[in-house]
């Protein structure tokens, strides 16, 4: 066989993929692993495959790189910026836009769709954009500059996403929809009406039943949109998001069968009318339907790849278009037959106009099976309802129980999760079944966090977390496992419970705490936990004699013990900004005490090798030079890393150093269940790596974006975008609340990332508590933080001014000798502890 390129000569079956979108990319990932198959991809967009589902986040500061779907497998050859313009089915070749002719054994069409732009006069004017690609978004962003009003044509799912983007750009935003309601495909009239009210309340104007006739020059704005009912709207920017149409021209020109209203007809194996050509994703038409969601597209990619591997056990038989999302901050979900169009169907509806919740379920004519549902304002029941429908569970005697509020706080009706079959899909993002979760629990995953890390369930959109928790708890209960969340053998309580006891009962000593709420003498688990709680609640100086036995050695000596029993010292260098004088002072102290000196990852300087008795001497000199403690020894706020920001950087948008210093000085000394790291970046280039921190702040044109619960280290976790476009005061207010809520509720040694993953309801719940104050805690959290800030003292300053506290800084209780058992070796001009083999030589 004559192969087009030498590189692919090992493969005996050439696959050419047209289209490098999400579905094409997924197919390539799967197909590249099949032995004997060579894969060549042509994508016309000028960049690699990216996540189109989260496209709107591009406006919130997520970069094109963040959206990228990762590099394609090495085995695949990807041509970016090169499309295919012709298929020759007889010769089995394609001709590319660069005139290249490439042979194929199997051709896969993953050409996706294009945004439908209604045939309106003036639609080609400047500042009128479709909403589909990163290039479109760049155009929209550019047009937003200098504009005041933006209009989205289309009130569907994507249209509302686009409206959110315009609103975040600071434009007065309007949505113009031809149909009488919003999201007509997914929602019934009642749901659409509720959504409309909520969207309007958020400041987006909605115009339904509007037929746009033409776009002409405006009077007060760039454009004037004229409607069929003789009304008009002035706007600076128009975004078209009026649905999608399959891109089937290539197939059409090649004589493949296409649907009446477009779409390449495929069978259960994703084969087109030519068995050597497959079609997947939004360009494909199965059973008369286009599937415009990513999950069915991925399913098709899986089926197509399996077919190539001669595995015909999987087939595409259509997909459930149920969906759950958040639009303009409103939770919306649609399941199955949302409109109740099935024969004999009847419905139950629950409307709460005060809380703005709309729920409707559609049941079959016997009232025993669920056919569909619409949820607006509260989608907590989505997972449960979806499984009830998919698994065809028998409904309770009164089906309205499924949507009526459960004021006792119960979850799914008792026993309902037990009745799900093992193959029921619990997590649709990662296709995790109930059986897989049960198996993980049997193998020892007994917390939501553990189930998440071993099955990936609830790590996509997170919407199934409550359902995963129910499956987990039901299985634990079935196994007769009593979940032991005790802190240790001395306290039958979690850290969170102890925190509440300490605060509510005003307990200030460990003796009182263990006498009233524990047993025994305590241990190295509960004592530091109690000390951390006392510090967070009462901000007592950690060196108070009554707390001395509770502290581990780092907190006891206010320094970090290293492997040979000596300590390191990290003075605070807020925001990483340091004057030359202070830098010289640090160097002089390090030189005088022969301390090994190293720059830390948190933009500070660490001085190693001090003995206990040297610590106060060193600190006296550091304090005289203007330093204060850096709390590197504590489970406390560590550093706020920053880039140089708008002060010096040509790209800087806001003063990141100033904000970093402000944040660091505000929260310094705050004791927490674990260490806390922050960063502030001055623009979306993100040089301070804020998205790997517990609290990350990134400057944008419209204000600060706040990210939370990121982590580096052993278990890296990308921080989640928490709020956007904040002013200084709101940013600080949200961080106050977030930190104090974490301090109050996290388990001992639980970083914010794990804490959040274990919160039932995850990020959405955290947002509701911190931003929307759903639990009414905000004022209390802010007051507690204010107390901590008001009572801050540098622990080292307090220590060296207090003779009694200085007593403990003795190397030996009965001698003024230093510890001469320590052995150091000089290396690269500094000293370091000797290794065991070096010790043998020395002795």
């Amino acid at each position: 066989m004559d192969l087009p390129s030498g590189q692919s000569s090992v493969a005996d079956h050439q696959v050419v993929v047209v289209g490098n979108g999400m579905v094409g990319h997924r197919f390539v990932e799967l197909a590249a692993d099949i032995p004997g198959v060579g894969v060549t991809v042509f994508g016309e967009e000028p960049r690699g495959a990216y996540d189109r589902v989260h496209l709107s986040e591009y406006f919130a500061g997520t970069s094109a790189d963040d959206l990228a779907l990762g590099t394609p497998p090495e085995a695949a050859t990807v041509h970016i910026g090169e499309g295919v313009q012709e298929i020759d089915r007889d010769a089995k070749t394609v001709t590319t836009t660069q005139g290249r002719i490439v042979e194929y054994d199997t051709l896969v069409l993953a050409t996706g769709s294009y945004p439908f732009v209604p045939p309106i006069e003036g639609r080609d004017r400047p500042h009128c954009h479709p909403y589909r690609t990163i290039e479109d978004l760049d155009g929209i962003q550019a047009s937003g500059v200098g504009g005041a009003v933006g209009v989205v044509v289309g009130g569907g799912l994507l249209g509302l996403e686009a409206a959110n983007a315009l609103k975040n750009m600071g434009l007065a935003t309007h949505v113009v929809e031809f149909a009488p309601g919003l999201m007509g495909t997914q929602l019934d009239d009642g749901g659409g009406t509720m959504l409309r009210g909520m969207v309007k309340k958020l400041g987006v104007e909605v115009h339904t039943g509007k037929n746009t006739l033409r776009i002409v020059d405006g009077e007060s704005s760039r454009h004037r949109m004229e409607f069929a009912d003789d009304t008009a709207l002035e706007t600076d920017l128009v975004v078209f998001s009026a649905g999608i149409r399959p891109r089937d021209e290539l197939a059409r020109d090649a004589g493949l069968e296409v649907g009446e209203r477009g779409g390449i007809v495929i069978d259960e194996g994703c084969r087109t009318s030519d068995p050597n050509i497959l079609a997947i994703g939004e360009c494909a038409l199965y059973d008369g339907r286009i599937f415009g969601l990513v999950a069915p597209g991925y399913e098709m990619a899986k089926v197509a790849a399996a077919g190539l591997a001669q595995d015909d056990s999987v087939a595409f038989r259509g997909a459930d278009m149920s969906t759950k999302l958040k639009l303009l901050g409103v939770d919306v979900a649609s399941i199955g037959d949302a409109h109740g169009r099935s024969r004999g169907a009847s419905t139950y509806t629950y409307i709460d106009e005060r809380e703005r919740v709309y729920k409707r379920i559609v049941v079959n004519k016997t009232g025993k099976k669920l056919l569909g549902a619409v949820l607006v304002g509260d989608t907590a029941d989505y997972g449960m309802l979806l499984q009830t429908m998919r698994s065809e569970l028998t409904l309770p005697k009164h089906p309205d129980a499924l949507i009526l509020p459960r004021r006792d706080g119960g979850g799914m009706p008792a026993g309902a999760v037990d009745s799900l079959p093992d193959e029921a899909q619990i997590c649709s993002c990662h296709d995790v079944s109930k059986g897989a979760i049960v198996a993980a629990v049997c193998e020892g995953a007994t917390t939501l966090g553990a189930v998440r890390s071993c099955t990936k369930a609830a790590t996509g959109c997170g919407g199934c977390a409550p359902l995963v928790t129910q499956v987990l708890n039901a299985e634990l209960e079935r196994q007769g496992v009593e979940i032991n969340t005790d802190l240790c053998e001395h306290f039958p309580h979690t850290r969170q419970e102890l925190y509440h006891l300490v605060r509510a009962r005003g307990i200030t000593t460990f003796a009182e705490l263990i006498e009233k709420h524990g047993r025994g003498r305590g241990c190295d688990i509960c004592k530091p936990a109690a000390a951390s709680i006392f510090a967070a609640c009462w901000n007592d100086h950690v060196l108070r004699p009554k707390h001395a036995p509770l502290q581990d050695t780092n907190d006891h000596f206010l320094a970090n013990m290293q492997k040979n029993g000596t300590y390191s010292i990290v003075p605070r260098v807020a925001g990483g900004e340091i004057t030359p004088d202070k830098l010289i002072a640090l160097g002089q102290v390090a030189k005088k005490y022969d301390l090994y000196t190293k720059i830390t990852g948190g933009q500070r300087i660490d001085l190693f090798g001090a003995q206990v008795h040297e610590l106060p001497l060193i600190w006296r000199e550091l304090i005289d030079a203007g330093f204060e403690t850096g709390h590197a020894y504590g489970k406390a706020v560590r550093t706020v890393k920053s880039c140089v920001g708008s002060t010096w950087c040509r790209y800087g948008v806001l003063d990141s150093v100033g904000m970093a210093i402000h944040i660091e000085n505000r929260y310094k000394g705050l004791r927490a269940p674990h260490k806390l790291k922050f960063a502030v970046s001055g623009c979306t280039r993100e040089c301070a790596e804020a998205q790997s921190k517990d609290v990350g702040v990134i400057a944008t044109e419209i204000g600060w974006n706040l990210y939370v619960c990121g982590n580096g280290g052993m278990r890296p976790r990308h921080a989640d975008l928490f709020a956007t476009g904040l002013d200084d005061a709101t940013l600080i207010q949200l961080i106050d609340r977030f930190l104090m809520f974490y301090v109050r509720t996290a388990d001992r040694l639980q970083r914010t990332s794990v804490w959040m993953e274990n919160l039932e309801g995850g990020l959405d719940y955290l947002k509701s508590v911190v931003i929307d104050d759903s639990l009414g805690l905000a004022a209390g959290l802010e007051a507690e933080m204010a107390h901590v800030i008001d009572t801050y003292k540098c622990e080292w300053k307090a220590a060296i001014e207090d003779e009694e506290k200085l007593q403990r800084f003795r190397t030996f209780v009965n001698s003024n000798r230093t510890d001469d058992s320590l052995v150091f070796v000089r290396e690269r001009g500094q000293r370091r502890p000797a290794f065991a083999d070096e010790l043998a030589v020395e002795v």
Binding site: E489, A548, T553, M561, V813
Partner: protein, 145 residues
């Protein structure tokens, strides 16, 4: 505390003047004064130099006696045990190494996590408010360094 250790126990201030010991008799032991009892904060260890040995001393709240073990942690090979947190686990009085967190029984020196490892223990007594330690004679068969 178990019976055998109380028979061998270092003595509190009340009975310190006339220690009763099994095995070697009191006058065979060479007692080295270390520090005043007041220098020991309850539940906070200190390090003492006894000859050239580094010893970790602990006074526990509610107990009159003083416990002494080798300061060297056999796992990290660093003299850190006086700087661990004390407490009890399953009824045993313990100190946790601040480096790798193993627990050592203050009365026997044995390591709770690894039966093959232990540290030396020393007899102590309190005489006229001063802590004394038995030098040259250890109470357990420590696997010190």
């Amino acid at each position: 505390m178990n019976a055998s250790s109380s028979a061998n126990a270092p003595c509190g201030p009340e009975e310190g003047e006339t220690p009763s010991l099994q095995g070697p008799t009191a006058d065979m032991i060479d007692w080295t004064p270390v520090c005043s009892l007041d220098a020991l904060i309850p539940d906070v260890g200190v390090r003492a130099l006894v000859g050239e040995e580094q010893v970790a001393l602990f006074r526990l709240s509610g107990l009159g006696e003083v416990f002494a073990i080798d300061a060297f942690d056999p796992f990290s090979k660093a003299p850190v045990l006086s700087r661990g947190i004390v407490g009890d686990l399953n009824g045993q009085l313990v100190v946790a190494s601040p480096i790798f967190k193993q627990h050592f029984n203050l009365e026997t020196g044995s390591c709770l996590e690894d039966a093959a490892m232990s540290v030396r223990t020393y007899q102590t007594r309190v005489v006229a408010g001063r802590v004394e330690i038995a030098s040259g004679l250890s109470r357990g068969n420590g696997e010190g360094r």
